[in-house]
Structures are given as structure tokens and as C-alpha cells.
């Protein structure tokens, strides 16, 4: 089977709601979605539409109300919290809007962090982390702490941390939301490379149509309902 034609993520009849006091607020309503392997998908939609909730569910950070999410051969909706944590550690890389690096650790140590959960020796971990930083062209910033790096550089460190365990999926929540245009472009190019060259499946939530334009597929979420939204013009967001 052609790698790029097989569905890595299969979401069926997905419902999710949140409780606020006595009120139950529906967030996702009967979502069905297939994401192919090595896909670069952009999830767009207005604030409160449920994009991040859907991303969290795909990444195994939250539990569904109803429905199933199958990633590869694993139906993650049937996993316990502990099993989900283990699954995330080896299958998902995370890129956050505000980078979420640990401020007291250097760039190299931040990237090394997820490898602590693997059986690698310290030397091996360091080697892998250094390679990941090289991938994002930050090999000369290994010993810098996050506060000594620009926003773009911090996001690249976060990307290195996301890929260092060689995960199947990369999830990115507004990865360019806190960056200037040049840094955002660099980060997007990097994510594109990860998808195209390394075959990573990238799922990105964004408000930025420029960012979405980098993705090969775009889905639109409005009030918890998923559409293809082919009619959305990028200029509407500008």
C-alpha cells in the first residue's frame, strides 16, 4: 500500500462536551475524520470551535465522551491514563504556541527530556538530542537556556524536542501564534520538511491562513462540526 494513501488516524462518531457548573457545553459533535500517513493537515476555525479539543483528543491528552479514535493499530479511546501516557511518549510529538520549554534546562537538556523515558544511556540521549538540534539548525545553541533564545529559536528547540523520539504524529497548537513573520515562516518550513522529507504526520491547529497554506490539507471546524471548507478564502483571514 502506498504510504501516503493509508489512513493513520481514523476518527469515528466523536463527541466531546465540557461541564461548566450545571451546564454541559457540547464542543465536538459527531466528528469523523481520516488523516493519511505523512499528511500535513491544518485545522482551522474560529475561537471556541473545538480545534484544540480535537487536537488534544487525537494526541491522547483528553478522553472522549463517545466515539473512537484509532491511530495506526491502536484504538487510543480504549486506553487508560497510564497507557495513554506511555503511548504519547513514543508516538506523539508536541509543539505548543508558547513553546513550553523548561526554563531551567538548556536547549540540549530540553530536547533530551522525552528520551528519559526511553532505555537509552545518557551518552545516547545526548547524541540523539544533539542530532535533533542539528536538524533544526540550532547545534550552536545547545547550552543556551530558553531565555537566551529568540521566540523562533525557542520554537525550533520545541520542534527538536517533539521529533527527538521519532514519533509517528506531530501535533502543533498555533505553532506560529507567538512568532514574527520571518520566524513563523522558518518554523512552517521546518514542519513541512518533517512531513515531506521524514514522513511525519503533522496535525496543526492554526488561526493563521499563511500557516494553513503550508499544509497540504485543510479542515475547518465550526461549532464542533467538521467541514472541508473549500470555499474559505485565505484573504478572509488577512
Amino acid at each position: 500500500m502506498n504510504k501516503k494513501n493509508s489512513s493513520l488516524v481514523q476518527i469515528r462518531n466523536l463527541y466531546k462536551s465540557y461541564r461548566r457548573g450545571n451546564q454541559i457545553i457540547p464542543v465536538l459533535d459527531n466528528i469523523g475524520l481520516d488523516i493519511k500517513e505523512a499528511e500535513f493537515l491544518a485545522l482551522m476555525g474560529p475561537s471556541g470551535s473545538g480545534k484544540s479539543t480535537l487536537l488534544n483528543l487525537i494526541a491522547g491528552l483528553d478522553q472522549v465522551d463517545r466515539g473512537t479514535i484509532k491511530i495506526g493499530r491502536v484504538e487510543i479511546t480504549s486506553l487508560s491514563e497510564t497507557e495513554l501516557a506511555e503511548w504519547r511518549a513514543s508516538n506523539v510529538g508536541f509543539i505548543f504556541q508558547f513553546y513550553n520549554l523548561i526554563p531551567v534546562l538548556t536547549a540540549l537538556e530540553n530536547v533530551e527530556l522525552p528520551l528519559l523515558l526511553t532505555g537509552l544511556s545518557r551518552k545516547e540521549r545526548r547524541r540523539h538530542a544533539a542530532l535533533a538540534l542539528e536538524l533544526v539548525s540550532l547545534q550552536d545553541r545547545m547550552d543556551h537556556h530558553p531565555r537566551q533564545l529568540s521566540g523562533g529559536q525557542q520554537q525550533r528547540v520545541a520542534i527538536a524536542r517533539a521529533v527527538v523520539t521519532d514519533p509517528t504524529i506531530l501535533v502543533a497548537d498555533e505553532p506560529t501564534g507567538d512568532l514574527d513573520r520571518t520566524s513563523a515562516e522558518e518554523v512552517l518550513q521546518l514542519m513541512e520538511r518533517l512531513s515531506v522529507d521524514l514522513g511525519k504526520t503533522v496535525i496543526m491547529v492554526t488561526h493563521d491562513p499563511r500557516a494553513a497554506k503550508k499544509a497540504r490539507t485543510m479542515r475547518y471546524l465550526d461549532k464542533g462540526v467538521l467541514t472541508d471548507a473549500p470555499e474559505i478564502s485565505f484573504t478572509e483571514f488577512l
Binding site: G48, A59, E86, R88, P114
Partner: protein, 384 residues
């Protein structure tokens, strides 16, 4: 790397962490000093021998016993040696110069107390001279006395000024022995009383009875008291430890209060350290959520928080313990007259270490529970 992270996290808020460490140090220091005060109170009890009994008037220590009891006590089974004495109650120059002084029968008394180490020449000189005395090393140092000096005590129980020549300075066999005592000849006092107040002569305040083995204590004590049943001065015989405890028990309420305060200090610092930990963890809620996102389980997070709490409590505890020794020395120098033996015991150090550990562990409980129980998405603040 987790250890590195614990270390760096502990001092991210340097001022707050240092203040907490300092607070912990002061608390442990206070705890250890208060415990040492309590131990000092019991020093006499601890130093007492299981082979010695004390016989006194059953009504009160204030009432004397006839000297004639000595021979009768000697004949009782289990008794090896008998000595006797009186609380002399004199003071040196000024009433504030308080120290324990006893009129004793020198040879039998010192043979019953082998823990008072005295050179043979000084011992012999003390035995030979009825107007002589022996002082403890700390007492002699306190007043600058040297062998051969004449020391005048003003009597409170035995009125008048009494001159004694210092013939010996004893030291304790170990540092639990009181080196602040003063011994003089009972005979010297008695001979004087025979001339001045004859009705008070030939009376002793207490007998010290040496027994063959500790297990004979109860039986021998009972036999002594039985021997003087229905006499004009009935006796109460008890082990030296029980005798010393009867003095300590007079201050039991104060000691209980001191013990209580020492634990309250620890509880207060526990709240302070717990507050520091809660604040630190709350500030880093997002970081812990990132750890969870990356797949780190509850065990890792608990280890990070517990490690930080233990490090802060441990550093403070260590500082407090180290400072306890010079502080105890300074305290002893200031109030040494009241606490002849003021020594930080090993048990006190162990308790201080345990207190620091307990504070470190308990202070981490609430922050750990909060971090572990919060959902990842809540921690990340990413619910849309």
C-alpha cells in the same frame, strides 16, 4: 537529569527558597535546643547508677535520719556499702553563686561514686584534712579556684561562715557527669554542731547504699524500709534514678510544655515549607502539564516535587543541626549554673533529622496530589 532539575527548581526563587531554608534551620535549631534543655533536666537521672539506692526520711527529704541507722543498713542482705551526707546549702560570696554542695562521709561516698575521677594524692589529702573540700572541674574553673585555696561558704542551713581548703578537683568519667558539685566533710559540720546546736548533731539527710547487683534493688530497698518501720524516723528507700526523678517530676509541667513547644515549632515550619512548595508548584503547573504531555507519569512528577521539598527541608535541617552545637555551647556558658550537664545528645540529632525528613515529605503531599490529579489539558490551559 532529574536530580539536576530538582536542584535547579529548588532555587528558582532564590530569596524565597533561602528564607524557607533559613526558617527551617532556625526551627530545627530551636527544636534541638529545647530538647537539649529537657535532656539537661534529666542529666542527673541519666547519670544515676542502678547499683545505688538512696534512703531518706519517709516524710520528706527535709527531715533528717539518725546516724545510727548506718550500722543497721549495713547488716541488711544485698548491701555492700553505706555512705551518708547532708545538703549543706552554702553559697560562695553572693547568694547568686549557686552550686550543689554536700557534706558527706568522704571515703565511703567517693568509693560509691567511681565516676568522679580524682588523683590519688588529692583523694588522700581530702581524706586526711577534715576542713578540706573537693570541687568539680567546671566549678573550680568558674570561680578560679586552685588546689590549696581557702574557700569560704556562707551556710543557709548551717548558719555561719565556713572555711574549707580545696584539696582536690575531680572530673567526670564522661561528659554526662556533673562537674559543678562541691563536697566537704560531714564530720567537720557534725563536730561543730555538737558544740553549737547539739540537738542537730549525729543526723544525716540521706544515706547512699551500694548494692551488689541492680536486680537486688527492689528487695533491698524493701528490707531497709522494713527495718525502720514504726521507728521514730521511718525511711523511704528508692533507686538513685527514682530519687533523681522525684526532683525532676516537680518540674514535669514545665518540661511537658517545653516538649510541646519543640514540636509546635516543627509544625509551624512544616506549614511554612508546605506553603513554599504549594506556591512553587502552582507557578509551575504548566511545566508539570508539559511533563505529563511528554508521557512522564505520576511517579516522576512526585519524585521531582518530593525531591525539591526534601532538599529545602534537608538543607535547613542540616544547617539547624550544625548550628545547634555552637548554640548549645553558648547556651551552656550562659546558664551553666542551672544545667551542669548541657550536652546535645545523639537522640536529639536523630530526632532533628527525622523532623526535617518528616517536614520534607509532608510538605510535598498536597502539591503532589494537586499535580497528579489535575488533567493534562487543564494544566496546559488549552481547553477551547
Amino acid at each position: 537529569m532529574l536530580l539536576k532539575l530538582v536542584l535547579r527548581n529548588s532555587f528558582r526563587h532564590r530569596l524565597r527558597s533561602l528564607l524557607t531554608v533559613a526558617g527551617m534551620g532556625v526551627a530545627v535549631l530551636a527544636f534541638a535546643l529545647l530538647r537539649t534543655v529537657v535532656s539537661a533536666w534529666y542529666a542527673g537521672v541519666e547519670a544515676s547508677s542502678a547499683n545505688r539506692l538512696v534512703t531518706r526520711n519517709s516524710i520528706s527529704l527535709v527531715f533528717p535520719l539518725p546516724l545510727s541507722y548506718r550500722d543497721k543498713i549495713r547488716q541488711i542482705d544485698g548491701v555492700k556499702k553505706v555512705s551518708y551526707g547532708n545538703w549543706f546549702g552554702g553559697y560562695y560570696i553572693d547568694r547568686k553563686n549557686f552550686f550543689a554542695n554536700f557534706a558527706v562521709e568522704p571515703e565511703s561516698y567517693l568509693s560509691l561514686y567511681p565516676e568522679y575521677l580524682l588523683p590519688d594524692s588529692q583523694r588522700t589529702a581530702f581524706y586526711r584534712d577534715r576542713k578540706s573540700c573537693v570541687a568539680g572541674r567546671k566549678l573550680a574553673r568558674r570561680f578560679g579556684w586552685k588546689i590549696g585555696d581557702t574557700i569560704t561558704l556562707t551556710g543557709t542551713i548551717f548558719p555561719g561562715n565556713w572555711d574549707f581548703v580545696l584539696r582536690g578537683i575531680y572530673r567526670g568519667r564522661d561528659d554526662t557527669i556533673d562537674e559543678n558539685q562541691f563536697f566537704l566533710h560531714w564530720d567537720y559540720i557534725n563536730e561543730t554542731l555538737k558544740k553549737t546546736v547539739p540537738r542537730r548533731a549525729d543526723q544525716v539527710g540521706f544515706y547512699v547504699v551500694g548494692i551488689a547487683a541492680p536486680e537486688l534493688a527492689a528487695k533491698t530497698a524493701e528490707a531497709i524500709d522494713r527495718a525502720f518501720k514504726n521507728s521514730r524516723a521511718e525511711t523511704l528507700t528508692e533507686t538513685e534514678k527514682a530519687f533523681q526523678l522525684s526532683f525532676v517530676s516537680m518540674s514535669e509541667a514545665i518540661l511537658t510544655a517545653i516538649r510541646l513547644v519543640s514540636f509546635v515549632v516543627i509544625v509551624i515550619i512544616l506549614v511554612v515549607v508546605a506553603n513554599t512548595m504549594v506556591m512553587s508548584v502552582r507557578e509551575r503547573a504548566g511545566e508539570y502539564a508539559v511533563f505529563k504531555t511528554l508521557g512522564f507519569g505520576s511517579f516522576y512528577l512526585a519524585a521531582l516535587i518530593l525531591g525539591e521539598s526534601l532538599l529545602i527541608a534537608g538543607l535547613g535541617g542540616a544547617a539547624g543541626i550544625v548550628l545547634t552545637f555552637p548554640a548549645a555551647k553558648a547556651f551552656a556558658a550562659a546558664v551553666g549554673n542551672w544545667f551542669p550537664v548541657f550536652k546535645v545528645e545523639a537522640l536529639t540529632v536523630y530526632l532533628a533529622v527525622a523532623a526535617a525528613l518528616v517536614v520534607g515529605i509532608v510538605a510535598a503531599v498536597v502539591p503532589i496530589w494537586r499535580v497528579v490529579s489535575v488533567r493534562v489539558v487543564e494544566g496546559l490551559g488549552r481547553i477551547e
